[in-house]
Amino acid sequence: MKNLFYLLFLTLFISNCKDAIKNSEAKIDIEKGTAIEAEDAVIEETSNMAQRQQQEQAEKLKAEEHLDLIGFWVGYFERDSEADILFVDEGYIWNRENKINIAIDQIDGSNVVGHSVVAGNDRPFEGEMISEEDGSYAFTVKEPGDDRYDGIFTFTIKDSELIGTWSAYKKIEIPRRKYTLEKKTFTYNPDVMLEGAKEYVDWTKKIQTKEKVEMAENEFDEWISTQFASATSLIYTMNASNRLLEKSEVENLQKGDLTIIRNTIYARHGYSYKNRPLRVFFDAQPWYIPVHSNIKGDFTEIEKENIKLLLKYEQNAAEYYDTFGRG
C-alpha cells in the first residue's frame, strides 16, 4: 500500500514538468528584417546601406523627363483569380489583397528599371515603356525569375493613375493579380499615429471553447466560441517612435497591444510584413506604404530603447501571464 502511494507521488512529480510554471515554448514573433542584433545589424546595415546607395545613385542618374512617372505607386494588389478568401469570423475576412508599392526608379528612353515591395518581398524588375498617342504610357516589366513569386507586370499610367495586372511565372496559389495605384511619396514620420481602420486579429493562434447550451427542453446545442489575440484601444494613443516609453505605461499592457505598438515602429519605417495578421492590419492604415523588407539599420535611438523595453514585457507576457509562475 505504501509503495503504491510513493508510486503515485512519483508519477505526479514526473508528469508535471516545467510547463506548470511557465510556457517554456512561448516565442514572440520578431520579423526577420527588423531584429536589432548588435553584430547582425552591422553586417546587414552595410549591405543594406550599399543597396540603398545604389538605389539613390540610380535615382540621381535619372533623366529630367518622366519625373511624374518615377517614384512610388501604391495601392492594393488584389487577386485576379479564383482563390479562397480568408474567413476568420463574422466581421473579419481577408480578401487576400496586399498593399503593394511599385517603385519606378529609372526611365532611360524606353527602358524601365524599378522594384516592387509587397508582402515582405522586395523584388527588382526591368522592362519597356511605350508612350501612347493619348498621353498615357504602357509598361511591360519583368521580374528576374529566381524567386518563387516572380512574374510579369503589365500596366498603364494615365492621368496620374496606374492600372494593370500581374501574372506569375510559376504555379502558385494566386497566379494573377490586378491593381489600381496612386503615386505617393514616403517620408519617415515618427509622429504618425494609428487610425481606426481594420482591427488587429491574430488568426493563427486561437483558443476554442465548447459550450453545451440548452435550446429547448432536453435539446442541447454545442456552441463553439473561438478567441483570437487582438489589441485594445490603447494602440491608438501610444507612440513608441517619438518619445521614450515609461515602464509604468508598458507593464500593464496585454500581449496584443505590446505586439502592435512595437510593430507600428516598423510600419512607420515602411517595413513590409511577411507575417500575415500584422500585414493585413498595417495595410489598412492609409499612411502605410511598404518600402523596405529590411529596416535593421533604420531605427532611431528612441525607437531602439522602446523596442528593447517592449520586447522584455512581451517575452514576459508570453511566458508567464497565464501560468502559475510569477513572471
Binding site: L12, I21, E251, L253, Y313, E319, F324, G327
Partner: protein, 220 residues
C-alpha cells in the same frame, strides 16, 4: 467530524501543499545559479542594479522555499507527539530563517515592488506581520504556552502560504477574467495574504479554540 472525513480532508490538504510546494521549487530552481536576468528579474532591471536588492532578492528566494517545505509537517500531531525533536528542530529552523532572512529581505523587496504604492504597502505589511506572528509564536513556545504558540504559528504559516495563493489567484484571474497584467498583480498582492489570514482566523476560531475549550472543560 468523523474519522473518514478527517482523513479525506487531511489527504487533500497534504497532497495540495506538496504539489504546490513542488511548483514553488521549480520556480526557485530557475534562479539557480545566480543570474540577474532570468524570469521575474527580466522586468526588475532598476532594482537589480542595486546591490542591497540583489542580496535581498536571492536570499529571500533561496530561504523561502526551505521555510515553505519545513512547515509542511509541523502541523502534524502524529509527528509532534512521536518525533518531538523533529518538530522542535524544524521549528527552530523555520523561525530562524523567517526572522533573520526571509522576512527582512521580503520587506526590502517590498519597497521595490511592481504595481506602484498599492502593492508596496501590501508586501510591506505582509513582511511585518509575518515577522510579528513568527516572533510571537517563538515567544509563546519558549514560555510553553502551547495554545497561543499553535495559534500564532497557524497565522505565520498562513502568510508563508501566501506565496502559493498569490500565484494561484493570478492563474485564476489570468485564465478567467483576463485582466491586464499589472492590474492583476495589484489585486493578487492583497488577495493572496488577506484570504489566507481570514481562513486561518476562521480555522483558529472554529477548530482550535473549540477543541481547547473542550479539553480544558474535561480537565475539571
Amino acid at each position: 467530524m468523523n474519522q473518514a472525513k478527517r482523513l479525506v480532508f487531511k489527504s487533500i490538504w497534504y497532497l495540495s501543499i506538496v504539489y504546490f510546494s513542488y511548483l514553488m521549487l521549480l520556480i526557485t530552481v530557475q534562479y539557480i545559479p545566480i543570474d540577474f536576468e532570468v524570469a521575474f528579474l527580466r522586468v526588475k532591471e532598476e532594482a537589480m542594479s542595486k546591490m542591497h536588492y540583489q542580496l535581498a532578492f536571492f536570499s529571500h528566494v533561496y530561504t523561502s522555499i526551505i521555510v515553505l517545505l519545513v512547515g509542511i509537517t509541523q502541523f502534524s500531531e502524529t509527528i509532534r507527539k512521536r518525533y518531538a525533536f523533529v518538530h522542535r528542530n524544524l521549528g527552530k529552523l523555520y523561525v530562524l530563517l523567517v526572522l533573520v532572512i526571509a522576512s527582512p529581505s521580503g520587506f526590502i523587496m517590498a519597497l521595490y515592488a511592481n504595481g506602484g504604492i498599492y502593492s508596496k504597502i501590501s508586501f510591506g505589511l505582509q513582511a511585518i506581520l509575518w515577522f510579528y506572528f513568527t516572533f510571537a509564536a517563538l515567544r509563546f513556545a519558549r514560555q510553553r504556552k502551547w495554545e497561543q504558540h499553535q495559534q500564532f504559528m497557524i497565522r505565520s504559516y498562513a502568510l508563508t502560504l501566501s506565496a502559493i495563493s498569490l500565484r494561484l489567484f493570478k492563474w485564476i484571474i489570468a485564465n478567467t477574467l483576463e485582466l491586464p497584467p499589472m492590474d492583476t498583480y495589484r489585486i493578487v498582492s492583497w488577495l493572496g495574504w488577506i484570504f489566507n489570514l481570514v481562513i486561518a482566523e476562521l480555522y483558529i476560531y472554529y477548530f482550535i479554540r473549540k477543541n481547547n475549550r473542550v479539553f480544558t472543560k474535561n480537565k475539571h
